[in-house]
């Protein structure tokens, strides 16, 4: 089987309004297989909305989103099937509070018939060992710290063996001492070649892991480039202003 598409994800003139508020004003962007794309920008610039459009958690007002060659904004398309291949990590973790740590991981693969319960259990054990939560596997999430919840949320997505991972400010809601452990997991994941789109305020992290960085401002992509280009030699005055505020 040959995959005949140019980019793993491509957006064409993507627009999103919330009432009279224009949050995305026509974004054309793409993500290639194996690429790590980081999105930075001030609050309200539309970066989270852009990310949430990529797996249709927000329905775009207009424009197209191609995922592995298919326009997933079309009417009648099974978004659920495509979401199975796009993992997502949220700012507020959103681990399933009613399920044990292990069940959090196995629910989707078993329910969506990607794996038998036995296969899913084995995989969950492996994933939990990887993030050092083996001894918590039968606990409920309320017993976990924020950092542990977020690491769990990451491997919960990985259990679906996605083609791309979307991170929506994965460390913004964490206590400072827990940021490192979560970034470490993401770093390892990225190094293993996982295609990733990361919205973050962690500039050092963005600089280190990204292949490409986008600076979003007021619903548009104001500037993009390699981490060196964007962080060392920003061209757009808005980028310069933003970076001067966050890099002190």
């Amino acid at each position: 089987m040959t995959d005949k598409y140019e980019h793993m994800i491509k957006t064409v003139d993507l627009k999103k309004d919330f009432g009279s508020l224009k949050v995305l004003k026509g974004v054309n962007e793409h993500v290639d297989k194996g690429e790590v794309l980081t999105i930075i920008g001030p609050s309200g610039s539309g970066k989270s909305t852009f990310l949430r459009c990529l797996n249709m958690l927000e329905t775009p007002t207009s424009g197209q989103i191609f995922f592995e060659g298919t326009d997933i904004t079309q009417k009648g398309i099974s978004v659920d099937a495509h979401r199975q291949k796009m993992g997502m990590v949220f700012q507020h973790f959103n681990v399933f509070n009613n399920l044990t740590v292990k069940k959090n991981i196995t629910l989707a693969p078993v329910l969506l018939k990607k794996k038998t319960q036995k296969e899913a259990d084995e995989m969950a054990d492996e994933l939990l060992a990887r993030i050092g939560l083996t001894d918590k596997k039968d606990a409920h999430p309320s017993r976990l710290s924020g950092g542990q919840k977020q690491r769990l949320a990451i491997v919960r997505s990985l259990a679906m063996e996605p083609d791309v991972m979307l991170f929506d400010e994965p460390t913004s809601a964490l206590d400072p001492e827990m940021v490192g452990e979560v970034l470490q997991v993401i770093k390892e994941l990225v190094k293993s070649g996982m295609t990733s789109v990361i919205v973050t305020h962690e500039m050092g992290f963005a600089k280190e892991v990204s292949d490409r960085v986008i600076f979003m401002d007021d619903g548009n992509i104001a500037e993009e480039g390699t981490p060196t280009e964007l962080f060392e030699h920003p061209q757009n005055p808005r980028t310069q202003e933003f970076l001067s505020k966050v890099l002190y």
């Binding site: 797996n55 979401r83 949220f90 009613n98 989707a108 969506l112 679906m160």
Partner: protein, 221 residues
């Protein structure tokens, strides 16, 4: 007065026992029926079809905006006329009226219970590829039940008190018992006190049991 109370109790105690039984029977049937129908109504209110949503919301608003006593009268007098073939008993008419009323409140309880579950839970489930139905069944509803169950028990307590309105039609509940004894003895305060104490004991015990249940559920989080 104490003497009178003892006299009433010893002579008509069995009537109060019967009344208590009918009150509980009426309340249980009502809360069970309205739990099922109310949940369905709450789900229907989330429908994608506007007319369905509109009808359900209108129902809830009308029921909550009119007095229960009026609804009882309405069903008591209207139902036998509307469907004479069914030959509905008075008890059935009253049950239908109570259920009709309670369904709206239960629907609101269920809706609030679902609404209180963090939106992120649904989003996370959907982001993994679960359909909205699967996400509802496996993630949202199990968490909503914890909010709903105690509120539903409180509704049961409220219904126990509300069934007293049904005594308007002498259907044999505790308040009917009061009226009967009042008719026999011309005593007012004494049988009323007994009825009040029975209501209070039942609802007080239930409320305490619900509070304990709630604490237990919180602890299991």
């Amino acid at each position: 007065m104490l003497q009178n109370i003892i006299k009433v109790l010893s002579k008509y105690g069995y009537l109060f026992a019967d009344g208590l039984w009918i009150t509980i029977e009426l309340s249980l049937i009502t809360v069970l029926c309205s739990s099922v129908l109310g949940s369905l109504l709450a789900i229907a209110r989330r429908s994608r079809l506007l007319p369905v949503r509109f009808l359900c919301t209108a129902y809830v608003e009308v029921v909550r905006g009119t007095p229960l006593l009026l609804q009882l009268y309405f069903f008591y007098f209207m139902l036998p006329n509307l469907v004479p073939a069914l030959k509905l008993s008075e008890f059935t008419c009253v049950v239908i009226a109570l259920v009709f009323n309670s369904v709206a409140y239960v629907a609101e309880i269920v809706r609030a219970g679902i609404g209180a579950v963090d939106r992120g839970q649904m989003e996370a489930a959907r982001s993994l590829g679960l359909s909205s139905k699967q996400a509802m069944i496996h993630v949202v509803l199990p968490q909503a039940v914890k909010n709903i169950l105690p509120a539903l028990c409180n509704e049961f307590v409220a219904i126990i008190k509300e069934t007293s309105l049904a005594s308007t039609f002498f259907i044999g509940d505790i308040m009917t018992t009061y009226k009967t004894i009042n008719g026999f003895t011309f005593l007012i305060i004494e049988p009323l006190l007994i009825a009040g104490i029975i209501y209070f004991c039942v609802t007080f015990v239930l409320s305490k049991a619900i509070a304990a249940l709630e604490r237990k559920m919180k602890a299991s989080d």
